[in-house]
């Protein structure tokens, strides 16, 4: 079981205690932020619509998560890809970002609401439906 899953399993209170209470494992602040991000990305409130979550590429447990549509860690509310699905790029960009569309995707609502530019580029043969 990876560390992040362990944190998730102890719940939010445990998460806080684990990271900011004692910090017995001596995690760095960067790791704490990663863990918090991971935690947020998996606890979705009912009715939460898919929303692009990240600004720049994140690093989870030493692995860089690319800015690609298919990557669940980049979304809160799940990866949008269905008829009438919502894809909301909401004010998360602090600078121009390029997002790779890795495969055809179907959405009903596509919203770009960020003062910084979002650029969607295709992986080979990718289309946005």
């Amino acid at each position: 079981m990876i560390r992040q899953d362990a944190i998730k399993n102890v719940g939010f209170a445990g998460f806080l205690a684990y990271n900011w209470g004692g910090n017995g494992m001596g995690v760095t602040q960067a790791e704490q932020l990663q863990h918090e991000y991971y935690y947020r990305s998996r606890l979705v409130m009912p009715g939460q619509q898919p929303q692009w979550l990240v600004d720049n590429s994140i690093n989870v447990n030493g692995t860089t998560i690319p800015l690609s549509w298919n990557q669940p860690l980049n979304w809160i509310g799940g990866v949008p890809n269905a008829s009438a699905a919502i894809a909301n790029f909401y004010r998360t960009n602090t600078a121009a970002r390029t997002i790779t569309l890795d495969g055809n995707k179907t959405v009903g609502v596509l919203s770009f609401n960020s003062p910084a530019a979002t650029r969607s580029t295709p992986a080979p043969a990718a289309r946005s439906r």
Binding site: N93, T106, V107, V109, S111, N113, A126
Partner: protein, 369 residues
């Protein structure tokens, strides 16, 4: 974009964003932009879909457009830039600002109130549409051309032209292409002088092709039914981009039928419903500068100011605009002489009937020529 039976939406509340991937419209889609959106990966539709463009922002369509038959694009807000052709399956309704940066082959074009379509300056661009209608707004061709494959040329109804000729007449306004609505040009050689204009004619008249024949005009294949609108020299009756004896032939052949024959091609170069000395004046004024090549834009042209009425009283006007023979090639000189002789005879006949006093003045001018 697919919302099943519902309507899909693309919104840009803020920022400038780019879709570098193919956008396929499966459901009717609203595109509401306060910011900017560029489509650089292509846009297509599956089935007859309606795309409603709203908001004050800018939509740039930069690459391939592949629409299914029956697709409608309603430009109802902001600015939409088309840098590629929409294709013959697209019906485009212009109710806001639409800028064409490339030749457009379209199914239908309609300009409504508040519509402001514009072909960017290039000289080699064309709007080639099946039908063309206006209920308001403007279409600015700048120094480009338009073809309405199934359009209506229109005729004189006693007070104004109808059809596409009527749109051009409306755009001409008081003579400087300042009409509140209609087809216009903003080229300075048209707005501040009579050197250039928008000429309109049916292809069967101007090009001599039948409805079942095709020929190439402005880089496009047209048959005799097509209505042609060309940015060209004032007086270019046959819409070939130059002034020569053929243009004199058309006005000479119809001046006696003024009142029963109408249209730019037949000599009504100022769209006032008459074929008279005013139209000859346009042709005579421009003949020196308008031989051999079409106008390519205001910057490269020397303006010929429209003379005052005092200057154009006869002798002074003729002296001012008389073409020096050395500037004409021999064949044109022979043609011009032949046409001038015919014109002289026709005008003398009219003058003898005391039909119009101003035409007597033209006879004097031609006598002096």
């Amino acid at each position: 974009m697919n919302s099943g039976a519902g309507t899909s939406s693309i919104s840009v509340p803020q920022g400038t964003h780019l879709l570098g991937v193919q956008l396929n419209i499966v459901s009717n889609t609203n595109i509401d932009l306060a910011g900017g959106l560029t489509l650089n990966g292509g846009i297509s539709t599956t089935g007859a879909r309606t795309i409603n463009r709203t908001g004050v922002g800018t939509l740039n369509i930069g690459t391939t457009q592949t629409y299914a038959a029956g697709t409608t694009f309603n430009a109802n807000g902001g600015t939409t830039n088309f840098s590629t052709s929409g294709g013959t399956n697209l019906a485009l309704n212009i109710n806001a600002t639409v800028v064409f940066n490339a030749t457009q082959t379209l199914g239908n074009v309609s300009v409504g109130s508040g519509g402001n379509g514009r072909l960017t300056v290039g000289g080699n661009r064309v709007i080639n549409t099946g039908t063309f209608t206006m209920t308001g707004g403007k279409l600015n061709l700048t120094n480009n051309d338009m073809i309405a494959r199934g359009g209506t040329l229109g005729s004189w109804n006693g007070t104004a032209y109808t059809g596409i000729t009527g749109y051009v007449q409306s755009g001409l306004g008081t003579g400087s292409w300042n009409g509140a609505t209609g087809i216009v040009t903003t080229e300075s050689t048209a707005t501040t002088s009579i050197l250039t204009t928008l000429a309109v004619a049916k292809a069967s008249d101007a090009l001599g092709v039948t409805a079942t024949e095709t020929t190439t005009w402005s880089g496009q294949s047209v048959n005799g039914n097509a209505i042609l609108v060309m940015y060209t020299w004032g007086g270019d009756a046959d819409l070939n981009g130059e002034l020569n004896g053929d243009d004199y032939f058309w006005i000479d052949s119809n001046v006696l039928q003024s009142g029963s024959v109408f249209g730019y091609h037949f000599g009504d170069f100022n769209y006032d419903g008459d074929i008279n000395g005013d139209d000859y004046f346009i042709l005579d004024s421009n003949i020196l500068q308008a031989q051999g090549s079409p106008p390519m834009g205001g910057a490269s042209l020397a303006l010929v100011p429209e003379p005052t009425s005092a200057l154009c009283g006869g002798i002074a006007c003729a002296a001012l605009f008389a073409p020096p023979p050395s500037r004409l090639i021999e064949s044109d000189r022979v043609q011009l002489q032949r046409r001038a002789d015919a014109r002289h005879g026709a005008l003398r006949e009219i003058a003898e009937r005391n039909l119009h006093s101003t035409l007597v003045d033209l006879v004097m001018r031609m006598t002096l020529d």
